[in-house]
Point group: C2
Chain length 250, copies 2
Amino acid sequence: MALLDTVVMRGLTVQGVLSPEDRALLLGLELNPRHISANEELWQERADADMFCVVKEGWAYSYRNLRNGSKQILKFYLPGDIIGMRDFGFTRRLSSAAMINQGVIYPFSYQQLFELFGRSSLAVGIMATAMRQQALLSERLIYLGQYAAHERLAHFLYEIYLRLKRIEAVEDNSFLMPLTQQLISDALGMSPVHVSRTFSMLREEGLVIRDRQHVKLPDPEALARLVEFNDSYIDELLPLTFAELLRASP
Amino acid sequence: MALLDTVVMRGLTVQGVLSPEDRALLLGLELNPRHISANEELWQERADADMFCVVKEGWAYSYRNLRNGSKQILKFYLPGDIIGMRDFGFTRRLSSAAMINQGVIYPFSYQQLFELFGRSSLAVGIMATAMRQQALLSERLIYLGQYAAHERLAHFLYEIYLRLKRIEAVEDNSFLMPLTQQLISDALGMSPVHVSRTFSMLREEGLVIRDRQHVKLPDPEALARLVEFNDSYIDELLPLTFAELLRASP
DNA sequence: CGAGGAGTTGAAGAATTTCAACAAAGGTGG
DNA sequence: CCACCTTTGTTGAAATTCTTCAACTCCTCG
């Protein structure tokens, strides 16, 4: 309850516009938590797409297996994120999804989403959430396309840092990152070996300290400067004008 | 009129569900066409975001200028595409946008979108359109991350080919592509020099014939096989189940 | 204690960038 | 209509980044 009430709700809320009725509808989604074990698949590419998942605990990721045996990770999902939005609009899954560590998710069906869409304020919130997710994707496209390995990794770590901070999972600039270097290499499009070297490089520059899953960014601002980080897209709040527009429209 | 009536409408329509009223609302957007000259900017990064644009004629693109002087192109917009969806959910533009050649666009405001959101079937259609756009982005992320230069270029050309075919701008496997190699290099994250070499390579293999803006793909299927193209994401029609779900929901 | 997964390091090779020079095409103004 | 200038594309050679292959270490878990 606490999760949807905070993280997801915060994402969907247009300030002061969400009615108690809307809230109830949203919390009604939280009916059947499912416990998922580490490495368990949520679905495979091409499976029928008929629902979303909200992550309550644990990390997950979506990916695509390629013919040459490599795989490309599209996105890592942290607690509070919604998995499967991308497939909305298609009959089948465009990418596979799996848990990284053990966790809990809330599945909800497209049917439930349609009910939400009946109420315009929620529709706008959901739309905005989707667009924010797309913005994250664009950002990754940019640094995959234009940056060298150490910048890509730095950007990646800083993005994770910001997203974890939003859900209060960062303490003293440290956080837990349950990813292997293999997973990171699949996400950033570089070889696992080079990920290792690049971590060493960042460590020598005093930008990243890492011991297995424990990551510390001694100077996040320095990291942000290094990667020309554009943090507007991670902003959680919808613009004020949205509320005004909603009130103005029938 | 013809454009929104066909291309955009087709994207938003949930089969048999769009009411005459919805249609009228949608066509009402088409009030003020704007003529834009080649290379003219639609907006810059960080400008106030308050509207979308539907492209009627010409090509456009969105991009981000980077500190090191390079730029990353996020997407090329063809006639019928909607520019600026990504910024919905933010106060300011996340990326700049500009026309490539001379063209015509239809601007419409967020305000107008909110009115559309009042009607659930349109909301779903718009959402689905947004998700399809995101799927395209994911696809590019994949090939930027995992593929070699010649595969990236091949994939890119095949994607453009499919998108142009959808709007009936392909004849005898040939189409017009008003892009310089510089633009392509910014989109694919490679150097302009290497784009040139890679075009030569594809030409020698008989996969691509190009004379300035005229591009011909003698054997599109061979190209598709080469790049492991996943064409489900370009599919225009919404799944049938959507219509059923909509009817079922109040 | 042994085995396997994860991470590190070195060296060779491949892919791609950069720099530089040149060629071809297009637009502009005389 | 031509000459000129700018933009676009091509080619070569050197430099750089990154990958691959392989060996080795460390840690964890059974």
